[in-house]
Symmetry: D2
Subunit: 295 residues, 4 copies
């Protein structure tokens, strides 16, 4: 039996040693619920294409570098094929520098990250607790809500989606949200960025007051087509990312950022199977991901 | 209507400009077939954990490097939290240096890769054709066959699985293979490597004569828990990777290598939903992946 | 005996296999000549400081990334010192992305680089001929000329220093140029860049007609405080870097770019000992350098 | 006037804010003294060649990676020259992963590095004090002593050179050591490593009791052809690098490691001009260097 709901956080809810947080909500039943949403067999990627040297990427992080270490030109220049020729490459990528998922080790407050694990466990050798390798495989039902047109209409580069907006939009889908579901929020920022009507210095997103409602609804992760899920820069002085602190640290809920929700939005579906598979990098504090929606 | 089967290759089968090869076989029906295999709601990852500086990795490729660019130690040393502290990191990874999928641009023969695209299109700026970004989202039914114990019993570090072994094992599953299915082959190499009974210089795998059968069976991809799906080093002089040449170049069939099939093998299931989501790196010739099995 | 001067190029002048070009002019006598210029014992660096993520750097090259792999924060977070604590770091740097020297393998024309070596020798594994490791140690006399104020006065972002300007300025130093000397040209661009009056898209520099004069004067290398020694972008259509082609490829003369000549210019000295020590990277096509002037 | 010699350390000797340590001893007179040693005009490099993926390199550090981002093969594959073709490359290198100089920020004890600066100043953004950019240009007189044959004769992989050996060898050169001189110690390890008679797990070098003598002699830096200048692994339990702690932290004396002293040793000269020019990486804790000897 799970312990009684604690309004302040979920620490201890899945054991004092837990490093997976709200992913514990994605039970086998939750996976089957996701599977049951599949209708048409359409599979879509929700990641922005990755181009060397390009964004969108938050300031302070360097764009991906792509290095070819063998390729067709080598053979054109005289390298002999041994039955076949081949190409090889390396990528150097900021784990938070494109469509990505945050590890629970990504954030903390007052020296404590998710479940009270000390931020001192995250050092130059990586995260000894709550690293991205704890995620494993995510398969769950996604609930998609769309604020792209509201953002455009608002003319506000930091358009806020507050808890009333959010809860109303979820209610309007008619879906009975269940523990372990994923919440996907289309803010419209990627669309605007792509058409050069938005910058990485300001973006629409969830207001801080969404955190408790998201947790109470039982969502295991929240994704958005913006820099930080929450709106940015933060509306609160000296509180650079209040929703990160609440969702990731206090509730163990995962954030997926810089999603490309354009294709899925065009499908007119509010729920579908969502699959997310981060690199199992031991001690990583995030991972680029290519989330898949199956409709 | 698809053109008549050409025994020599699949070039032109999905159009002269095609860059996706046998992934074209993964129709909506194939996705729904995958979905219909799900029974228990168990989701497993099929990737080997990624640890900085460690393998398994083929010689000539450098192990992943993991760089933390902010972490708990910075705050311990005096950095002030602004409402929250955070960690950030970068990875430098050979795209073929852990569990990964080969792009069709990974290999060629006589200057031509899949569908006749010139290897000259793969240069220092990446692959202008058949790059990994063409993969998008893979969701299909997997058929798993297991030769791990045969490999161990053989005592042969380069134990060959030939077409008779393979076709018999697939037949023994009782599954009616359909176009677009994925073939997963447990050779036992990762198990042996992990217990230090195998090296990256020799590994069991599919024999060259499996290629045509795999294509005729309609598989869109083949994955294995070894370095190269095919056995290695190659049994043929001056033909370093005959199965790569046939499967990837001639048939447009994808290879997924260095899978960790230990957990899935323990489930006793021969078919399940398989989801693979490579990084959408424009021009990449491969990508690390974390394949997900849903049972 | 050296072969007769060939007005078109220096190929063969130091042997058909030569990979060092005009560095052959820096004989022991040339080194002693450099030593004899030293008066005050002042040693100055001529490199721009390297800051992670910053320039000046030519477009298309990514700024240096600096990764700490152990540091004081790790100990602050609990790592135990074993008699001493230490910090470690890595740099990822474009060899031409800061103050640097070009290897002779950096450029070619019509498939031939310095001394007729084929450009096909420069592939993904590096330069098999004329790589930066051939440079070894450079110690020679530098002759400094200064056009910074002319550039500023001209108001022309691509202020050209032509052969008459150059030869007059060298003559005005009163120095009897000898084979193996280094020519250093202060264009004023770094000064302007630093005070945000210049961009990396246009810069003052030597005009194409300087090449033959430089070669005839016997200079072994030419350095400047701009992007490319020669002015840029090129004044010639379809000839992106005419001086590179002449100096490096035809004459085997080395180029050193993005020098910081501010401190040395303030010394009022026209000649001094110059020491340049590239990384001995086998197959590299350039190297960051920190040239030293000894006055 | 310099403050009285403190036997325990040199902190405060060059001011409480000093970040350059014993390089302060390299006055203009010291530079002129170096210049006065030049006889023949021979210039030699003292760095080991850098080859991608190769050592010598201490365990735990990854060998250099060399990435070509444009080269001759690209043109062979069809890229058009615009008046000239060119090659470009990047290197990823551990600053301590080849012939290199340690920044004073490289080591500390009890939270204090050189001059009492806190190790908390060295974080993920680099060293805010005592970074390698403080070195600038080093030109000084080197004194070379040679223990290579003693090491070979000893048969001891961790052959210790203690203070008596060292002082006797320096005395035997007949050189009157002056403040600011550089001490170069040929241990013979690189020679042995190159002929595969030595490993990176054990090496000959200076014994801990050399530290005070080196400081009193006035040396500004000590270089050696081994992993750590001092012998390794450390002879003292719980004191992993006692000479680093004394020389770098307490005395502000610089260490240069993995030198290649084979060519210079063959010259039969005990003193010469030494020039060392680290990358001016702001906040770096070391730098690969290519030291130059001028004889």
């Amino acid at each position: 039996m799970e312990k009684e709901s604690d309004p302040s956080n979920n620490w201890g809810r899945w054991g004092d040693d837990d490093e997976r947080g709200a992913l514990n909500l994605i039970t086998a039943d939750a996976v089957l619920r996701a599977v049951s949403t599949v209708r048409t067999g359409t599979a879509l990627t929700l990641a922005v294409p990755l181009r060397a040297g390009e964004g969108p990427i938050f300031e302070g992080r360097a764009p991906l570098q792509h290095f070819m270490t063998r390729h067709g030109g080598d053979y054109a220049a005289g390298l002999k094929e041994k039955g076949f020729g081949f190409a090889d490459d390396y990528v150097l990528v900021a784990t938070h520098g494109t469509t990505h998922i945050d590890a629970l080790a990504h954030v903390w407050r007052e020296g404590a990250m998710w479940n009270g694990h000390s931020s001192n466990l995250v050092t130059s050798i990586g995260a000894r607790k709550c690293g991205i390798e704890n995620v494993g495989a995510i398969v769950t039902r996604a609930v998609l809500v769309d604020f792209a047109d509201q953002y455009e209409a608002s003319g506000d580069p930091r358009h806020a989606i507050d808890v009333d907006d959010l809860s109303a939009a979820v209610a309007a889908t008619g879906i009975d949200v269940m523990p372990g579901d994923a919440l996907l929020v289309r803010t419209g920022w990627v669309r605007a960025w792509r058409s050069q009507r938005a910058q990485v210095t300001a973006w629409p997103g969830l207001a801080p007051n969404c955190a408790e409602w998201i947790n109470e609804a039982g969502f295991a992760l929240v994704g958005a087509d913006n820099i930080a899920v929450e709106l940015g820069p933060s509306p609160r002085e000296n509180d650079a990312a209040p929703l990160h602190a609440r969702l990731v640290r206090d509730f163990g809920i995962y954030l997926v950022e810089l999603l490309d929700l354009e294709a899925i939005a065009a499908q007119g579906r509010s729920s579908f199977l969502l699959s997310i598979a981060p690199m199992p990098l031991v001690g990583g504090v995030g991972s680029p991901v290519n989330p898949i929606a199956v409709l």
